[in-house]
Every structure is written in C-alpha cells, then in structure tokens.
Amino acid sequence: MSNIQSQSAEKPQFYLEEDHHPEGSTNLGFWLYLMSDCLIFATLFATYAVLGRNYAAGPAPADLFDLKLVAINTAMLLFSSITYGFAMLQMERGAKQETLFWLGITGLFGLAFLGIELYEFYHMIHEGATPQRSAFLSAFFTLVGTHGLHVTFGIIWLVTLMVQVSKHGLIHENRRRLMCLSMFWHFLDVVWIGVFSVVYLMGVVG
C-alpha cells in the first residue's frame, strides 16, 4: 500500500494537471476566438475608413441612412444583451424554464434586429444603392453585412442551445455552451457600438 502511494506520489501531479486543463481553458480559447474575430472587424473597419468617402458621384450616407431606424436597431441589440444577461442569471439559479424564456426573448430581439437591417438593405438596394454602386457602398455592405451574418449565426446557435437545454437540462456542458454564446452575443453588441458610431452617426455628420 505504502509502496503504491510512494510511487504515485512521484508522478501523479503531472497527470492531474493535464487532466483538468482542457475544461478550464474553454473560456480562454473562446476569448481568443473572439479576439481573432475582432481582427476581422478591424480590417473591415479600416477598409470602410479608407473607402467611406469615395461615393463615385453616387448617394452619400446622409442621403441613405435613416437614423431613427438605426436607433431602433441599436435598442433591439441592447435589449437582447440585457435579456441574455437575465438568462445567464436564471441559469446560475438552475431555473430551466426561466432560462429558456429569457433565451427566447433574446432570440426575438435578435430577429427584430435582423429584420430591420434586412429592411434597410432592401430599401437601399431598391433605391439603386447596391454594393456595386461605389467603394463606399461596397465597404458599407461588407462591414454591416458581416456583422449581420454574425448575428444570424448567433441566433442559429441560440436556437440550437434552446433545444439542447430543453432536452438535456442545465447540465455542465450546456452551461459551458451558454457561457460561450453569452460572450459571443455581448461581443457582437460591442462591434455594433463601433458600427453605429463610425458608419451611421459619423457618416450622417459628414
């Protein structure tokens, strides 16, 4: 007995540390993904900053953007951020139904955001302000479209997790997944702050 213990006392720390390392680093790994996503948006913002004034005699931001619509859109994303926060608080309490309820509300706000954005795009393209029209519009659709795509995938992920939670409950794995989506969702809201400040507000100011 003592022989086994002394043997295990020589090496076990190596295995123990290896054993629980992957679990704890999910957060850090996902954070690194978000940071690399941040770099994608940084390059798109840089492109927009360089090309955003090249209208090619086409429409300028002040002609195209409806700030009331953008304000409503911003509110939708902000509301979805706080409702996701409430979902996380309910998850910590272990309340499955309440978590699902707040996740559902978050998804609805996300869908409202996407709907308004698609309506805006449709309206712009209808007026002839297509991505092909000018460098400004190419950069605009790429930047705002990439953000919209992220929100779309966020909603798909959200629905997937709602199914997972309703099927398997608030198990450890689902909590981890919900935590990752929480970071993703709040990160998209942070990117949107840059979008409405740089693209819409500064665009309309001129």
Partner: protein, 133 residues
C-alpha cells in the same frame, strides 16, 4: 501521506471550484442593470447630438461620438463581458491588450498610408483623363 493527498485534493477542488465559478459568470442582476442603464445613456447622447444637430462644429461632434463610443465599449466589457485582470490568470486581459494594439496599428496605419497616397497622387486635368489608355 494521507494529509498530503487530502490537501492536494482540496487544492484541486478549490481550483476546479474557481474555474467553475468563473464559467458560470460573475454578473449579478445589479451589474447587468447598471451596465444596461449606462449603455442606454451612452447610446442616447451621440444619437441626440447628431439627430438634434446640437453642436455647431463637425469636429466636436465626431470627437464626442468617438469618445462616448470608446466609453461604452469599456462599459460593455466590464458589465456584460465581465472583463477583469484576474480571470484565466490574466491571460484574457493580455489577449485583449494584444488585440487592441493590433487593431490600433491596422486602423491608424491604413488611414495614415492611404491619406499619404491620396495627397501624393498627381492632380488630373480633364485633358489627361481623356488621354488615359
């Protein structure tokens, strides 16, 4: 021997407990609501500045938008993403600082280079444009 292994077990438990606690997020109802209220205020101000045409100078309006936007990003980082210097042994903060530096280089560098490119381009006259291949 037994005490040694128990203390190790305790340390392991404590460490696991910590990482679990982090995974569950450490936001409270109060912190989420505080972050939300601050965000609403920090969003409303720049929209009001632009839609109400409050400031006379464009430079002042643009500077205000950028400063308030930067503050709001910090608010989101602290209250919604729960950033602090301690989580994951400080590595999330290190990754964030690294990313901010790269983002700053990409943005400032692009604008700087392209601005110089524009100002060094020869001004074209209509005749020159006609003779373009």
């Amino acid at each position: 021997m037994t005490t040694n292994s128990t203390s190790h077990e305790d340390a392991h438990e404590a460490h696991h407990g910590h990482s679990h606690g982090h995974e569950a997020g450490h936001g409270s109802f109060k912190s989420y609501v505080t972050g939300f209220v601050l965000s609403v205020i920090l969003t409303a101000i720049p929209f009001w500045l632009v839609m109400g045409d409050v400031l006379d100078s464009k430079v002042a309006t643009v500077s205000a938008i950028m400063i308030i936007g930067a503050i709001q990003i910090v608010v989101h980082m602290v209250y919604f993403l729960h950033m602090n210097t301690k989580s994951e042994g400080g590595w999330t903060m290190m990754a964030l600082i690294f990313t901010v530096i790269i983002v700053a280089i990409a943005l400032i560098g692009s604008l700087w280079v392209m601005h110089h490119l524009n100002s060094n381009m020869m001004v074209m006259s209509p005749e020159m444009m006609k003779n373009l291949p």
